[in-house]
Each structure stands twice: as C-alpha cells, then as structure tokens.
C-alpha cells in the first residue's frame, strides 16, 4: 500500500471523525443522541489509523518516510511545509497514541453513556487525536507547534467539559494559562533556532543544530525544556495537572496520562542530538525531573481523592522520564512513556470505573433518603471492599498497580529499572549528578510502591466505608468499559519485554533500544563513551531495584491491610507532623503562585495599572478621540451637501494636483 496515502488517512480520519461528531449534530439535533453512531464513527476514526500504523510499522524499512502535502507559508528564506515524518520514534509514538487512544475511545462509549454532551465529547476527543498526530508526526517545528497548541486546546476544552461547574472552568483556565508560560519559551526557542540555523525542518535542524555555539544552544535547549515542563507537568509548572482531573476520567487517561503530557519527552528525544551537546543543561533536566518525581510522590501519599493520587503519580512518573532524558538515555524515556501509557491508562480507566459505580451508590443512597451533601464519589475514604463487587476493575487495577510499583517482570519494572541503571551508569562514568538522580529515583520508587498500594488497599480491600453498606451495593461496569481495562492490563504485564535489561545477554535483547537508538540507525541519540558497569554490579542493581519495589509494596500492604481502614494515615500524620502537612499542602506551590504571582498581578493592576490606564492612557486615547471628533466635526462643515461647494472643492483639487505634478516634474 502507498505509505503516503496511509499517512494522509492516519491524519485525516480523526479530523473527519471530529467534524462528523462535532459539526453535523449542530445542524441535526437528532444526531446528538444517537450514541451508537457517534461512538462507532469516532472509535473507528482512531482504530483505523491504528491498523494503518501497525501496517506502516510492519513494513517499515528503516528509512524515514517524509511526506510533504503543501507549503503552509513562505516568506523570504522561511518556507514551512505541511510535512510529516514517519521514522522509528514517531512510529512508536503513533502506535501508542492510536492504540491506547482507540482503547480509550471504546471505554468512553460506555463511560459517557447518557451524557447530554456525548457528541461534543467525542468530537473533542477525535480532534485531540488529530492534534496529537500532528505533534508526533510533524517534520518541522511549526507543524509540531501547531499540534502542541492543538492538544493544549483540546485539553482545555475537555478539562472544562462539564463547564456548568465553575471549578471545572477554573481548572481548564489554569491548565491553559500555565501552559502558555511553557509555550512562550518553546516559541522563543524556535525563534532562536531559526536565527541560528535558518530552517525549522528536522532534517536541517538535526544536521546543523548540534553545531550551534554552545552558549546559544544551551539557551535553546533550556527554553525547549521549559516548554516541556509546561506540557509535561514538571517543576515549576506542574500545578495544572492535578487540577486537570476535573475533566471526564477517559480524558485524564488519554490526555493527562498516556499521550499529551509525554509530548515534552517526545520533543527532547526528537532533538536529542542537540540536547546531548549541552551537558550542563542536561544536569538541570535530570535534577528537575528527580525533584519533581520525589515531590509529587510525597504529595501523592497524602491525597484521598483517587484521581488526585493518580495525577500526582503521573507527575512523578513524568519526573522519572525526565531523569532518563537528563542522564542522556532518551530511548529509556520513550520506553517509560510506552509502559506508562499502558499501566497509567489502565489505572485511570479503573478509577473511572470505580467513580462510575460510586456515583450509582450515591444515587441509591439518595433514593433511600440519605443526605449526600458531603459525599464525594472520588474519595477513597468512603470506598473500601470494592473487590467483591467489581472483580474486573479490581484485578486490572491490582495488575497495573504492581506494574507501576515496579514489581519484577511486569512492564513498569523493566522501564523503571532501566532508568535507575542508566543514571547509576552515568554516575559510575564520573558525572556525579548521575548518582544524585539515582538516589532520588530509588527513594521515589519506594514511595511509588507504597502510595500505589495504599490507593489499591483503600479502594478495593477491607470493609466498605460508605453509609448503609449492607444494602447498597456498587456494580461492575459494562463490558465496553471492562474490555479496555483488560487490554491495558495485559499490556501492563507484557509491555516491558520490548526493553529487556542489560544484564540479559549484555543488553542485546533490548529491542526498543535497537529500534530507536542512533548507534543502530534510529533517530534517538544517546550518551556515548560510558564506563562499563561490571555484570555482578548490574545484577546487584536489578536485585536492589526489585527489592525496593517489593519492600515499598509490602509496607503499603501492611499499613492499609484489611481492618486497618485509614488508621495508618493518622499514624503517619502524627509521626511526620509538619512535614505531612507540608506535603498535604502541596509544598505551598499553588499558594505561592496564587499569593505572589496572581495576587501580585492583581494588586499591581488595581493599584498601579488601573489608575494609570484610567488617567494616562484613557486620557491620551480619549484626547485623541475627542480631537478626532472635533476635527471631524470641523471638516464636515465642508461637506455641506451643496453641489456648488463640491464643484469648487473639485477645482481646488485640480489646482493642487497640477501644482504638485509640476513640482514633481
């Protein structure tokens, strides 16, 4: 099959789907309620591209396929085409986005059933896939940026999907505004790159980019990293992601866990040859990732909202990916992106299933006359014991929890262990920050296993904690929701085997490394000339990593074992005291932003800018306006309406023209 046609279809089918479910129902209101049709079309609009992506993957020859459709803009030396690039990196991302995307679309047909905005939801979701595909397939930075902004827009639309609740709109605004900061940095980086290289397509950039003067390149990479911290929720811009959980849960799974938030990593991997030229910036990337991972993990311990736990866990896992990027192991970052998409997607979908059934519980309780004012279907404190009622959700949640915890032989184990090993390897080769990153990663891995087990135990084990638990029972979700859970859970088990660790046959079976890595002909560069870690030490590290995960999981299990309910939370609170409160308050970062930046801006606006606007600017503007008006009034006296005056004016004009042309001549 013609690959150019396939790329075109991959891109256009989601767009067509978005138009179908977004535009047609505007004119045909009866279409809005035909959920079967809209759900099928939208899911097919992502599933078909997945099938094409598989075909492209299977027949991929190793040479990038570049298709250019038309010139978007041309001005002077700048010419930007709508060009797309299929190579190893974009293929992996393409498979993840369309694969996980279609599973989540399927899930959404069940999850959004009965919502009055069903059609709108699928239109946004398809539009998101289209934008995301633009982002990962783009062959130049502007098209990538188009997708980058497109996914931002869709994220905004979907976070505020239930816009009648003001807090949802606020969360959407927050996500959008915080992302602007990062996007601005990304734009600046693009301007710099154009100034230095004179082109923005990846072919030229990757060939000439690494040769840019190191100082300038340092700034460029730093700016790109700042852009990435916005989209991928890293310090200092991660604050929007937890709030983004206001959106429907499939959105959290698709956009805020599996795909969009990883685009920062994709960008760094794509530009890896340039990043590798500036080691001092890589230190920043690695350390920021490590600190973010640790901070988010500690916050996650204190959260009681099941989605918030997962949100902070996502921030933390993204931190892991940035650690990998910071130590120069970009392919490992992408590896973790892939496995994370499986298990975190699964976890979010499970939480959606749980929330769904807890909403039914709430509904039933209300029917029984309970006052449900303070009840929150997402609060783990009122859950417990769900395993008896929701077996599929429980098992898949458990599998993906163990996967993210890094329990050996599950997907998360391989990718996380590879991150630990790569940072250790760098430290072993003499770059001290490798050890620092490794140390923080180990602590974070321990915490991850702990808080994820906590969330599992609180939700599914023990005794039910909602009122009237004897008579009111939750129900398992329909098959359209549980099938996606099992698919993702299955992938969370086997997904790690695409990247077997270095201890096995000296890393020769690490398929993803061989596929992506530059030494093997792939597009993702990596740190070279690393010291060789002895095999025994490697085994030791693998064992240590496994131990950490198992110990963390065991502590979590013990602390929240059946019968204990929330007791350990109180104990932890007492033992840690102020530290726990500090974690619970999210390190006061939100407060800092609110009080210093938002309030500061508001204060400055009110006290300085507003008076200045009112007196100085308005004065000038009104003055100009008044002047124009009075001139206008004055001049309009000439416009008498009398034809004699008009003719006189004409004659004066003739004199003027003749006079001027004589001067000119």
């Amino acid at each position: 099959m013609d690959s150019e046609l396939l790329v075109r279809l991959i891109l256009l089918l989601p767009l067509a789907g978005a138009l179908f479910s977004g535009v047609l129902p505007l004119f045909l209101p009866q279409l809005r309620t035909s959920e079967g049709l809209i759900g099928t079309v939208s899911t097919a609009a992502v599933a078909l591209p997945f099938a094409f992506a598989v075909y492209l993957f299977a027949t991929f020859s190793g040479d990038p396929i570049i298709t250019s459709y038309f010139t978007w803009m041309a001005a002077g030396d700048l010419s930007i085409d709508f060009a797309y690039r299929i190579d190893e990196l974009s293929l992996i991302m393409l498979l993840v986005v369309t694969g996980v995307g279609s599973v989540i679309h399927l899930y959404s047909t069940g999850y959004m059933h009965g919502d009055s905005g069903f059609w709108r939801f699928f239109a946004y979701l398809n539009l998101f896939i289209f934008a995301m595909l633009n982002l990962i397939l783009a062959n130049n930075l502007p098209v990538l940026f188009l997708g980058w902004e497109g996914v931002g827009l869709c994220s905004y639309l979907l976070i505020g999907f239930w816009y009648t609740d003001l807090s949802n709109s606020a969360a959407a605004n927050k996500a959008f505004i915080v992302n602007r900061v990062g996007d601005f940095a990304f734009l600046l980086a693009m301007f710099f790159l154009f100034r230095e290289v004179g082109a923005l397509d990846f072919g030229t950039l990757l060939a000439e980019g690494p040769g840019i003067d190191t100082t300038v390149l340092g700034f460029i990479v730093l700016l790109i990293f700042i852009g990435a911290t916005g989209k991928s929720a890293q310090l200092p811009l991660f604050v929007w992601l937890p709030d983004a959980m206001a959106g429907p849960t499939p959105v959290s799974a698709l956009i805020h866990a599996a795909t969009m938030v990883t685009s920062g990593l994709y960008l760094l991997a794509r530009l890896s040859p340039m990043v590798l030229e500036v080691p001092h910036i890589m230190v920043i990337i690695g350390i920021v990732g490590a600190i973010t991972a640790l901070m988010a993990a500690t916050i996650a311990i204190t959260q009681n909202d099941i989605k918030k736990v997962l949100a902070y866990s996502t921030v933390s896992q993204l931190g892991f990916m940035f650690m990998a990027a910071g130590v120069g192991a970009f392919f490992v970052a992408i590896f973790h992106v892939v496995t994370h998409a499986f298990f975190k997607g699964c976890l979010f979908l499970c939480s959606g299933s749980v929330i769904h059934s807890m909403e039914h519980v709430e509904h039933d309780l209300e029917a029984k006359g309970h006052n449900m004012a303070g009840f929150d279907p997402q609060d783990m404190r009122t859950m417990g014991g769900l395993k008896d009622y929701m077996p599929s959700t429980r098992w898949t949640y458990l599998i993906s929890t163990l996967a993210i915890a890094g329990i050996p032989l599950l997907a998360g184990f391989f990718s996380k262990d590879e991150i630990l090993f790569k940072s250790f390897e760098l430290g072993y080769s003499g770059a001290f920050y490798g050890y620092v990153v490794w140390g923080i990663a180990v602590v974070t891995a321990l915490l991850t296993a702990f808080y994820m087990l906590r969330s599992y135990m609180l939700t599914f084990e023990g005794e039910p904690r909602w009122p009237d638990a004897d008579t009111v029972h939750p129900h398992e979700s329909p098959a359209s929701m549980t099938i996606p859970l099992w698919i993702l859970a299955g992938l969370s088990i086997v997904g790690g085997y695409i990247g077997l660790p270095a201890v096995i046959q000296g890393g020769d079976l690490n398929w993803i490394h061989h596929f992506l890595g530059e030494p093997y002909g792939g597009p993702v560069h990596e740190m070279k000339d690393l010291a060789k870690v002895p095999l025994a030490l490697k085994w030791g590290l693998v064992g240590f990593g496994s131990l950490i995960a198992i110990v963390g999981a065991y502590i979590g299990y013990r602390a929240y074992r059946p019968g204990q309910a929330m007791a350990y939370d109180t104990a932890l609170q007492n033992r840690l005291g102020g530290l726990y409160t500090f974690w619970d308050a999210k390190y006061h970062i939100d407060d800092f932003y609110n009080e210093v930046i938002v309030d500061g801006l508001l204060d400055t606006s009110k006290k300085v800018l507003q008076p200045m606007d009112a007196t100085l600017i308005d004065g000038v503007v009104n003055g100009v306006a008044a002047l124009s008006q009075s001139v206008s009034n004055g001049v309009s006296r000439i416009q008498t309406g009398l034809i004699q005056n008009y003719a006189l004016m004409l004659v004066l004009g003739v004199v003027l023209v003749l006079g001027l042309i004589m001067v000119g001549a």
Binding site: T71, M73, A74, A625, S628, Q629, V631, S632, N633, V635, S636, I638, Q639, G641, I643, N645, Y646, A647, M649, L650, L652, G653, V654, L656, V657, L658, L660, I661, M662, V663, G664, A665
Partner: protein, 498 residues
C-alpha cells in the same frame, strides 16, 4: 493603416471580448424581456447566468500571455482576465442579493439588471483598455449607467439628490479627464498607452505632465479620492444599497485597473509619485476622520471606501511592480469585503429609503437574530480594519510593504495610524450587532415587524460566501499574490519587446 483586412482581423478578435459580448447581449435580451412581460422573474436568473458564463470564460484566460485585440485598443490575457473576473464577480454577487431587496423596495425592474449588465460592459472595456480612447468610452459607458442606478428611487428626495449630484459632478470631472487625454495625446501624438512612455527621447514636456495630472483628477473622482470625493457619501447614501455595493467595488476596480495601466505603461518616469502620495495622504485622512462621526452605516461605509481608496493610492505611489500587484490583490480583497458589507446592510434594511434614514442603532442585536449575516458582517468589519487572519490584513501588507521599499515609510506609518483609527468605527458596528439589543435603542430606531426583505437563502449564502472567501484569502493568499505578480512580470516583458 491598411483597412482591407480590418473586418477579418476584428472577426478573429471576437473571442477576446467574449465577456463583453455575453454580458452586452444579455443586457439587450433583458430589455426585450421586460418589454414583453413586466418584472419577468427570469430576468435575474438570466443576468446571473450571463455573469457566471463570462466568469467561467475568464477563469480560463487567467494564465494566458498578455496580448492586444482590435488594433491594440484592448488588452487581453491574464491581467484583463483578473480584472474582468473581479468585475463580473461583483456583478454576479449584486444580481444574487438584489432581487429580494429590490422587490421590497418595489423596484424590481428589468432595467436595473440591464443597467447592471451595460455598466459591466463599460467597466470591462475600461479595465482592459490599451488606449486612451477605450479608456474614455469605457468610463462613460459605465458612468451613465451608474448615474441612473444612483437615482433609482425617484420618489425619494435622497434618491433624486443622489442621482443628480453624481451626474453633474461626474460630467464636470469628465471634462478634466477629457482635457487631460487631449494634452497627453497632443504631446505624444499617440493614443496607445505603451507607446507614450517612449515618445520623449529629449525630455518630457511640462504639458504632458499637466495632462497626466488632469487624467489623475478624472480617475480620482471615479475612485473617490479626496479632494474629489465629495459626492461619494451623498450618492452612496441615496442609492439602493445593493447597487451602492456594486458602484463602490466594481467601478473602483475597473477604474483602478485602468489607472494602473496608465501609470505602468504610459509614464516615462516616476514623477507622479509625489502627487499620488499626497492624494493618498489626504484621502486616508478625510475618509477615516469623517467616518468617525457617522451615525448612518451606509454613509460610514462610503467614507470607509474613500479611506480604502487612499490605502490603494499608497501602493500606486510606490510606483513599483510590487506596488501595482499589491494594489491588484487589494482590489480583490476590498471588492469581496465591501460587497459583503453592503449586502448585509441591504438584507437588514427596513426604512424604504435605501437605508438613508436608518441609523447604526437599528442593527442592535441583529448579530444574534440573524446569525449568518451577523457573523459575516463581523468578518467584513474585521477584514476592513485589516485584522488577521482575514484578507484585509494580507491585502494591507501587500500594499504597504512595497511603499516601504520605495522609501515612503512616512506615508505607511500615517496609513497604519489611520487604520488603527478605523477600528473605532468598524468595531462599533460589531458592538451594536452583538452587544446591544433592540431594547437599548430609541423607539424610532427599531425595525418594525416584518420590515426586512424576505430572507432569501441565495442572498444569505452569497454574503456568507464572501466571508468565507475573506478567510481563505487571509490564509491561503500566496497563490493569488503569485498571480498578480506574474501579470506584471508578463506585462513588463511585453512592454520591453513591443
């Protein structure tokens, strides 16, 4: 000249004036139809068909090389096709929006369409002329039809005033134009534009420049450049709105096209640049400043069209190929947005006096009541300001950029300041359309029940199409700009090798 083969040669040249023939013949048929059946409903369709057919023909001529026909009286090829497409497109649009409007005014005469067709014939001749003779014939054919159209509402004092003023002042300015033509012919000894530039091997006599000055006066009147603009607000206000739209676009397009041809081919040096720059300055100033205080939207748009003529003079003053091609591109954008704006006004008119008495406030809340018209009007206003991503923005870029290159930075800065000022009166329309409701305005300004023209889907669709076209022109403009540049490169090559 050997006239023995004249008829054969002219017979062979007939395809060159295919559009003129089709449109002219349609005009004759319309008159006959009207004679047999009053207000024959087929007339608008026939008119639209003639315009459409001619447009189809011209579309295929866009890429052809420049040439002349009828003993070098008329130009053919890409340039002519581009201008003709503009003019015919304006005619087609006017035919599509007019029937419901004129029916409501009880003026749905067949003659209107005949006049429209005949005026178009004149415009085509003017816009494609290669000699001063055809310039004059085309100009007058067009003008006489426009005079009648302006005074169509003959029971209304505004209508009479409109037609009469236009006629008297038009005749007056024609005198200057004719005298200018005489001087140019007298000093060069030729009527053919491309031959004039080379007619002075030993310096250009002052008398020639005087002739050029008078021709510029004549054209300045037609395109309503200040200080020859005084008729414009009165005429635009009193003429039936759809026809105002036609007058303000098609006639300007063809007059500018002819003026560009004269400037490009006939002038031996760039000495007219100063006078064009000063005219641009005055025109922009008068148009924008006067538009500020207009309460009547048609009058506001009349001043706005004066202002836009000023912007186009900026491009002409640069005197370069890039400037001329930018002006051609701007003509297209201007035609689309102005036609659309007048079209919307026509469909929202209820006072029975061609909108002469209707204030801006009478449109309060219309944006939400008539969503398609409202949204289109918003697009037109934004585009007229020169707001991206609409055509008006790109158009302004392509007329101002060549002027900067030609060293007229001061003029461009002033032009941009005036554009900023124009935001005030354009945005006010959007404000009234969307942020006011009928409850906010005085009783006298409210539309009576059923006062509007019957909503006709075809008219609405035509207006919406203009809005879409502006968006397209604002995004995918490079193709059109390439075309307008190519026209001059070809024409240049032809001028080099006579």
């Amino acid at each position: 000249m050997d006239l023995s083969g004249a008829f054969t040669a002219m017979w062979a040249d007939l395809p060159a004036i295919f559009s003129m023939l089709i449109v002219g013949a349609a005009g004759l048929v319309v008159i006959l139809m009207e004679a047999f059946q009053n207000r024959d409903p087929r007339i608008p369709w026939l008119t639209a068909g003639a315009f459409g057919l001619a447009m189809g023909w011209e579309a295929f001529q866009l890429g052809t090389a420049p040439d002349t026909a009828f003993f070098e009286q008329l130009r053919t090829g890409g340039y002519a096709a581009y201008i003709n497409l503009l003019i015919l497109g304006a005619g087609l649009f006017t035919t599509l929006v007019s029937p419901p409007y004129l029916r409501r005014l009880n003026r749905n005469f067949g003659e209107v369409y005949a006049l429209l067709l005949f005026a178009t014939v004149g415009m085509i001749m003017l816009g494609t002329s290669n000699t001063l003779i055809s310039v004059f014939v085309g100009l007058e054919t067009m003008s006489v039809c426009l005079y009648i159209m302006a005074g169509l509402l003959r029971e209304d004092e505004g209508g009479i005033e409109s037609g009469f003023k236009y006629f008297v002042l038009g005749a007056f300015s024609t005198g200057f134009l004719l005298y200018g033509i005489a001087l140019m012919y007298g000093t060069t000894g030729t009527m053919h534009l491309p031959e004039m530039a080379g007619a002075f091997p030993d310096g250009v006599p002052l008398l020639f420049w005087a002739g050029v000055g008078l021709v510029i006066v004549g054209f300045g009147f037609k395109v309503s450049a200040a200080p020859f603009h005084m008729w414009t607000p009165d005429v635009y206000q009193g003429a039936p709105t759809t026809l105002t739209g036609y007058m303000s676009t098609a006639s300007k397009a063809s007059a500018f096209a002819a003026l560009i041809l004269i400037l490009f081919f006939a002038l031996p040096s760039a000495q007219a640049s100063l006078v064009l720059a000063v005219l641009a300055l005055i025109t922009m100033a008068v148009g924008n400043v006067m538009a500020l205080r207009q309460a009547n939207v048609k009058r506001m748009l009349a001043y706005s069209s004066i202002a836009h003529a000023g912007y186009m003079f900026v491009a002409l003053a640069s005197g370069t190929t890039a400037g001329y091609s930018g002006a051609l591109f701007y003509l297209l954008v201007y035609t689309v947005m102005n036609l659309g704006a007048f079209g919307v006004l026509a469909l929202l008119e209820w006072d029975g006096m061609a909108g002469r008495k209707q204030t801006l406030s009478s449109l309060a809340g219309m944006g939400l009541e008539r969503p398609v018209l409202g949204a289109s009007m918003a697009v037109f206003m934004f585009s007229l300001i020169g707001f991206p991503p609409f055509g008006g923005f790109i158009g302004k870029y392509y007329i101002f950029a060549p002027a900067v290159s030609a060293g007229l930075t001061w003029l461009v800065i002033i032009g941009l300041l005036f554009s900023a000022m124009s935001g005030y009166y354009y945005l006010r329309v959007i404000y009234v359309l969307y942020m006011q409701t009928a409850a906010d305005v005085a009783e006298a300004d409210r539309a009576p029940e059923g006062g509007f023209a019957q909503p006709a889907w075809l008219s609405t669709a035509a207006v919406a199409l203009c809005a879409v076209l502006l968006l397209v022109l604002g995004v995918a403009f490079s193709g059109v700009v390439d075309v307008t540049e190519m026209l001059f490169i070809q024409a240049d090559a032809m001028a080099q090798t006579p």
